[in-house]
Amino acid sequence: MASRLARHQARWGFAFILPWLLGFLIFTAGPMLASLYLSFTKYDLHSSQWVGTENYRRLFQEDPLFWKALDNTVRYAVFSVPLGVIGSLAIAILLNQNVRGQRLFRTLFYLPSLVPAVASALLWQWIFNADNGILNTALGVIGIAPIEWLQNEQWTLPAFVLMSLWGVGGGRMVIFLAGLQGIPDSYYEAARIDGASPWIQFRRVTLPMLSPVMFFNVILGVIGSFQIFTSSYIMTGGGPNNASLFYALYLFRNAFEYFKLGKASALAWVLFLILLVLTFIQFRMSKRWVYYEGATS
């Protein structure tokens, strides 16, 4: 039987989390169900009509732009996520060394992620400028002919991946750094006493101890990369010839430019299901490579 104190405690605890719970019901759970319903309708703000699975059928069978956007987004994710994770891990390891000017270096690497997305897109639009952008100027110095980064279909995706790498010193790196600093020194000392080389220490201590953090970064990295929006909206508007039409941009246009809210909701649910499956697969695979301290494996 619960004591009065326990009941009193439970009520207060519940009261404290209530803001989140209400927000969850109003802004997450309710709207999710509503968008699932909308995805089976034709809705343009004025009239609504139940169309069953028609929106989904059309997306898969009659909408080349849907496939184009999905293809672009998958390609972008395939390159930007692994490069981003490796890059942010490498920077975190470098910054975790006992070096002089650590704070200065940390700030310089973090700086790019402080640049707001719109300002960053405007800046990179000019960095990529084919005629006088600094990237082509720098490449010219080592004898590479100017590249039409944002005008040539073949170079658009690499340009967006490159731009995304500018931010690897940001949040993800900080999370790796926090993870690295959580590894007890005694583990490394023990490894050194056993005569382990720095590489073996990295393989046998750092990587396993860091694997939960890496798993977290990969999961959120995949989800984030599937939602790339602002940079393509500002820099290319999805062009040239839809080469940078990413999924979230296509969805946004259907929702807020064409007001095809039913179709856009179907797009949202397809995105959600894709990410759900990807996340599920990653959780399954994580049992093979993520090491949880104290867990029996």
Binding site: W20, V99, F216
Partner: protein
Amino acid sequence: MIGRIAVYMLLILGAVLFSVPFFWLVSTALKSSQEYAADPGALIPKSLAWDNFGKAWTALPFPRFVANTVFVTLICTVAQVVTGSLVAYGFSRFEFRSRNALFYTMLATMMLPGQVTMIPVFLIWRQLGAIDTFFPLIIPAFFGGGAFNIFLLRQFFLGIPRELDEAAMMSGASYLTIWWHILLPLSRPAIATVAVFSFLGNWDAFEGPLIYLNSPEKYTVAVGLRMFQDSFGTNFEQVMAASLVHILPAVILFFCAQRYFLKGINLSGLGGR
């Protein structure tokens, strides 16, 4: 020894590569149009054209954009820190039914793409007649301020000895007093970290303001910058001057909070323990 030299070389090389775009932005913002046209790639301007800022400031209702952004960002940041820390307090210090189920539900929402809720939430605000107001941007901040912030704060609270709460309880302190006088002061690093994340998130926000704000006098800087792109397409120096105004508060805040920043992130929960 060779290892240390290699570390420094890599750090310096990386820092230069990462900083060049930023310094180019700053230097371009300070170049005159003539100088930019003559040598766009130069990292150090020959003379400083401060009037780019003046031109950018007056050409569009830019002060208005800044005021709007400051207004929205400050309210949201305070609301997210206050309600987020209350929720974290509930999750870290109290036993109640389905607490863990609710906590994991909250963590799972981090993986939810915003697009799945975007359209119905838009329809709710439209129904309430709140399109082209700041309410759709501000009100959601009062509901805990996001799963990641709550998670970080909860992790930090878990690291604060419960004996402190219990001692305060003994002397008759209420739960709210404990939250305000014990947990918050002891959690400065976590509060600072969450405040920085919240501030940056709201200051940078683009898609929300793009969806909800229609009239230019309500624009935030992020949306307003797009107007610069349209109206100053060729005056890149002024676009960069305006961008710099957008960037500076974030950079200044980061410098101020840096001391606390990393200490506020306790990831032990991710390690399964």
